[in-house]
Symmetry: C2
Subunit: 297 residues, 2 copies
């Protein structure tokens, strides 16, 4: 019998989506981008996102719960940023063993609250539910956000010859950044207002996994300038490409706007690196890139 | 150290909500009703809901996954019904061990799809993520719905002297109904258009738990006519009050409209019982009612 480990995450999702209604009036983008996008008002779209963090997979049992709570919310805000939008309403589902202490949960919520206060979002609902003894604690976040019609950026609209950029440094997130990262919401907001990227997504599964996704969604190939990839301290190229959980922005802009973007970025965000790491090209001539994080392989 | 089993679900939630931002412009109702309600358009509110079903808690490992999928979606639709609304966009998060078969998951989605096709809703996103071996499979559903401004019903607007009604029969859900139930979405829709209830909710934790919640939210007491409670076949009063997972509507209407409601209901829904089970009264003279399902006690 075919198991999940035989087919991988992307192929699995494609099969599951055949079982349910997925199209309808009002859907701009369904599954497949960082968020779903639906019609909302004359000026804005609604963004919809769900994301889970699980004990033993996304954090260790002994981890400080305040940091875990921050991470759970920040991951979702990072996805809203990747669409050019902002968070609005949050719902939090926590599945916990009854042996869990009230204090642990309060600290988890304190971390979630700090992230919402810093980057936006209000809690409007959710649920706490018990799990059988021995099961891993799970936090499932669902949220809506909004984006102006003309500021929406998809991962699928990259063009041949676009310059490919990443913010920050890649790799080595496990040493701490995967818990404490700042979602790039202000940077994304500035970008969509000033140098609207053709394509954008956030880096969650590693550049080696996510960049091919962006290129494929955009029907392009890619050329990677490996020497330019900004690795974190003590990270080699392999780690920068494959570690995952970077939560940086990956985006493409028209090559003719590259120089101006780089100059203005340095003035606006002097403390955050912006690096050109390659170009989109015709898909027949692009190089292949494999690796990164897969939930089931 | 204080554990979850020391304080119970309602007290826990009250403590957790102190840690996060919960108020903001555009929120009509936050945590505490069947769904959150937010501003949406000139004619409609948006409903927001998240709900999880967990292997070993809400269904048995050997259960047919198609039925489990149906249940996961139907529970959420039942909550939209309880507000007078309808479902719109769904996101499904599944946390699974990698040893799970692709076929099992496909059947789970088939059940979810059947329920959406029958009662409404479109899948726009979600996630599959792995859990450590030995953990329970978990399905977390997040959804948005909508309700017309003048058809929104809360659990908190019941009035002294209102008649209290339930649909269907209570208790014994574990023998099968908890998996195969039909959410009362059409009945709720007819009610809000024709006999708008003052208060309404869906019965998920048992009448003994949920009716006091409705009464308390409405600042009323309650008188229960125990002899009138419509028990399922082979269920005694205790089971009808406490088993939970009935997924029937519990609502209150002005006593002067009771007779007309009962007559018209019989014509409109001849196959579904509607039973007056008591009245809301001044909170000083109401009786107390304890029991039902609590996730942590």
């Amino acid at each position: 019998m075919e198991n999940l480990s035989d087919i991988g995450e992307d192929a699995l999702i494609a099969r599951l989506l055949k079982q349910v209604p997925i199209s309808g009036k009002g859907i701009i983008i369904g599954s497949g981008d960082d968020c779903a996008v639906t019609e909302y008002s004359k000026t804005h779209y609604e963004l919809l996102k769900t994301d889970a963090v699980i004990e033993g997979v996304h954090f260790l049992p002994e981890e400080n719960p305040t940091r875990v709570g921050w991470k759970a919310i920040a991951r979702v805000i990072s996805d809203f940023a990747a669409m050019g939008g902002r968070p609005k309403w949050f719902m939090v589902t926590i599945a916990i063993p009854t042996s869990c202490s009230v204090r642990y949960l309060e600290n988890l919520y304190t971390g979630m609250g700090k992230c919402m206060e810093t980057h936006g979002g209000i809690l409007v609902g959710g649920e706490t539910t018990r799990i059988p003894p021995g099961s891993s604690l799970m936090i499932s976040i669902a949220a809506t956000g909004e984006v102006k019609h003309d500021e929406l950026v998809l991962r699928s609209e990259g063009k041949v010859d676009d310059s490919i950029y990443v913010t920050g440094k890649l790799g080595g997130s496990i040493s701490g950044k995967h818990l404490d990262f700042q979602p790039r919401i202000d940077q994304a907001s500035w970008l969509v207002k000033n140098f609207k990227p053709n394509a954008m997504m956030d880096l969650s599964d590693g550049l080696a996994k996510d960049l091919p996704r962006l290129a494929k969604a955009s029907s392009c190939g890619l050329i990677l300038e490996k020497n330019n990839i900004p690795g974190s301290l003590n990270c080699n190229l392999d780690q920068a490409l494959n570690n995952g959980e970077d939560y940086e922005l990956l985006f493409t802009v028209d090559v003719n706007r590259s120089e101006k973007l780089e100059n203005e970025w340095r003035k606006k965000f002097p403390k955050l690196l912006l690096t050109k790491i390659g170009s989109l090209v015709n898909k027949q001539i692009g190089e292949s890139l494999n690796g990164g994080w897969d939930h089931f392989l």
